[in-house]
Symmetry: C2
Subunit: 333 residues, 2 copies
């Protein structure tokens, strides 16, 4: 029920995913509205469950208030289905904070995971990268950042199919000595992990694509993600304005329209599936509020990969094995 085009785009994307990836969508929300939208789509041969939810979390609700008070909200009921094992994953395009808090509390974290982290996928010159944490945690400790690195590594390898993902710590220079107090400590902890850690990643190199996993605290990651979104949106406006300036440039724009559509699609954040909350006992995808049906379908495709590659089992194993290593070496966790 959440997002700018809900429930239309969510349902359309879920139906597309059902057709293509052999999944069984549970549509959780105000059932009248869901049925109204479903009537406009061909659904023959699809196995769809409609689960009624009375409440809707609005964007103005506080995340924790939503969690505690709105026990019949669509996100809460979806989280309950996940907890009970009726579904493998939950997808929402609504209130990010409420969705994360609700799913995290209802299904719980893996053993040893201090803080689940939100990972999202971004386009670079060479392909895609994963950035984690983009906002699940505001004040992070170095240990949390170490765990984000491990979880991001597994996600990039299993879901994006990058064989040996290189991970970098988002910072302001490449040398180990660069960065603030928090990143310098996180740097040392990341070096202790078995992931392919290439050190500090200067922010000026993020979109070059030489690093596959960008690790950072949730405050920095959220600002990095959102300022990128702000810039990309503004550039599209500027490009359009300038290209409508003169007659020649307008003709030029018409001729290159197909190329523009591709550029716009490449830049459009909402097309890149969704953000995955890593470290919890289940799959939770948060889509952009503006998500198109195609973006929702892509997010579900990634969730299917996530499940097929046993990402959660791999995360659980790796986190426990690092902790064992530390105990063996006499370092407290």
């Amino acid at each position: 029920m959440g997002g700018d085009y809900a429930p239309e785009n969510i349902i359309a994307g879920a139906l597309e995913a059902a057709r293509n990836f052999n999944i069984r969508p549970y549509l959780v929300g105000v059932s009248d509205e869901i049925e109204r939208v479903l009537r406009r789509h061909p659904t023959r041969g699809l196995d769809i469950e409609i689960i009624h939810a009375e409440d809707v979390v609005s964007m103005d609700d506080h995340a924790l208030v939503a969690l505690r008070r709105k026990k019949k909200s669509s996100i809460r009921i979806a989280a309950d289905l996940l907890k009970q094992g009726d579904v493998h994953g939950v997808l929402s395009a609504g209130h990010t904070g409420a969705a994360m808090a609700t799913v995290k509390v209802v299904v719980g974290s893996h053993d040893g995971v201090e803080r689940p982290g939100l990972a999202t996928v971004l386009p670079t010159l060479k392909g895609l990268l994963v950035i984690i944490d983009v906002g699940a945690n505001i004040d992070c400790k170095p240990l949390h950042i170490q765990q984000f690195g491990i979880m991001g590594h597994i996600f990039a390898r299993e879901v994006l199919g990058i064989e040996h993902p290189r991970a970098g710590l988002l910072s302001i220079g490449e040398e180990a000595s660069k960065g603030n107090e928090q990143t310098r400590e996180a740097f040392a902890l990341l070096q202790e992990t078995p992931i392919n850690f290439s050190g500090n990643l200067d922010a000026k190199d993020v979109y070059d694509g030489d690093v596959d996993v960008v690790v950072c605290d949730g405050f920095l990651g959220n600002v990095a993600l959102k300022i990128s979104e702000s810039l990309a949106d503004s550039l599209l406006v500027i490009i359009k304005e300038h290209l409508s300036d003169t007659f020649l440039s307008r003709v030029g724009m018409l001729l290159s329209r197909a190329a523009y559509k591709k550029i716009k699609k490449k830049i459009d954040w909402s097309e890149y599936g969704g953000a995955f909350l890593l470290g919890i006992r289940g799959i939770c995808v948060i889509c952009h509020g503006r998500s198109s049906p195609n973006a929702v379908k892509n997010a579900i495709r990634m969730a299917v990969e996530f499940r097929q590659h046993n990402v959660n089992e791999l995360i659980q194993e790796e986190i426990l094995s690092i902790q064992k290593l530390k105990k063996k070496n006499g370092v407290g966790v």
Copy 2:
């Protein structure tokens, strides 16, 4: 002597500025090289000083080592000229850390300024904004951020000519409760200042242009600036690639070439003058390493405005007046 195209572009920009803004450039560096470049330019009627400097700070030098050991470097000699009152300002396109550290130590900060902050100008949909600090200070206290707000406000008003600049604290949501520990404290301190503080600025709104002064700690500001630069550079590459895809799009690109040049210029970071180190007893501008002669000229134009509007005197007054206010109210500084 610093920067990717030094001393050529620096000298060319300085000569242009001398012609246009009635300034007298002191060209500090290896004099043979300076004279070699000068021979290629018309300099009749211009009043130019050449000051020889034996050493050059390279990009590999550590900022503090450069400061302590290279006493005959071009940046050190330029800072000495500033200290002695021979010049009003210093401009460098070289090693940012070394330039900031050298000028700060040689000329000193204003009374009451805890940490000078680096302010730079960025284009938005509605004009220009000032963002401070973009990297002078890595681990900042809330008080430093308060002072950045005051200095950025004065810079935007006097140098950019924005009558009532609105200032926002870079964060991850608009409400006062949003942000991390540091930004929540800085929020309260910014509210105590007489500047037009509009609260938290969600990073997704930075380039909309509704805020004229973006205030943040130097680590966050540096990442925000550099990731924007990385994205803009990558987008230009993507746009060019896609527009060369097909015959039609190539023709389209040719027709809209003039518009493209404008877009590229608007996006090109190096065109926006330079970054000003605010809070020191003098003017210090750091230009992008890739600066064109035009960018250098623009930076000098801003430095002239800075001087004509007595920005340093205004900063000194405002910082002292806030401190008096605090003492009066019984709050320790």
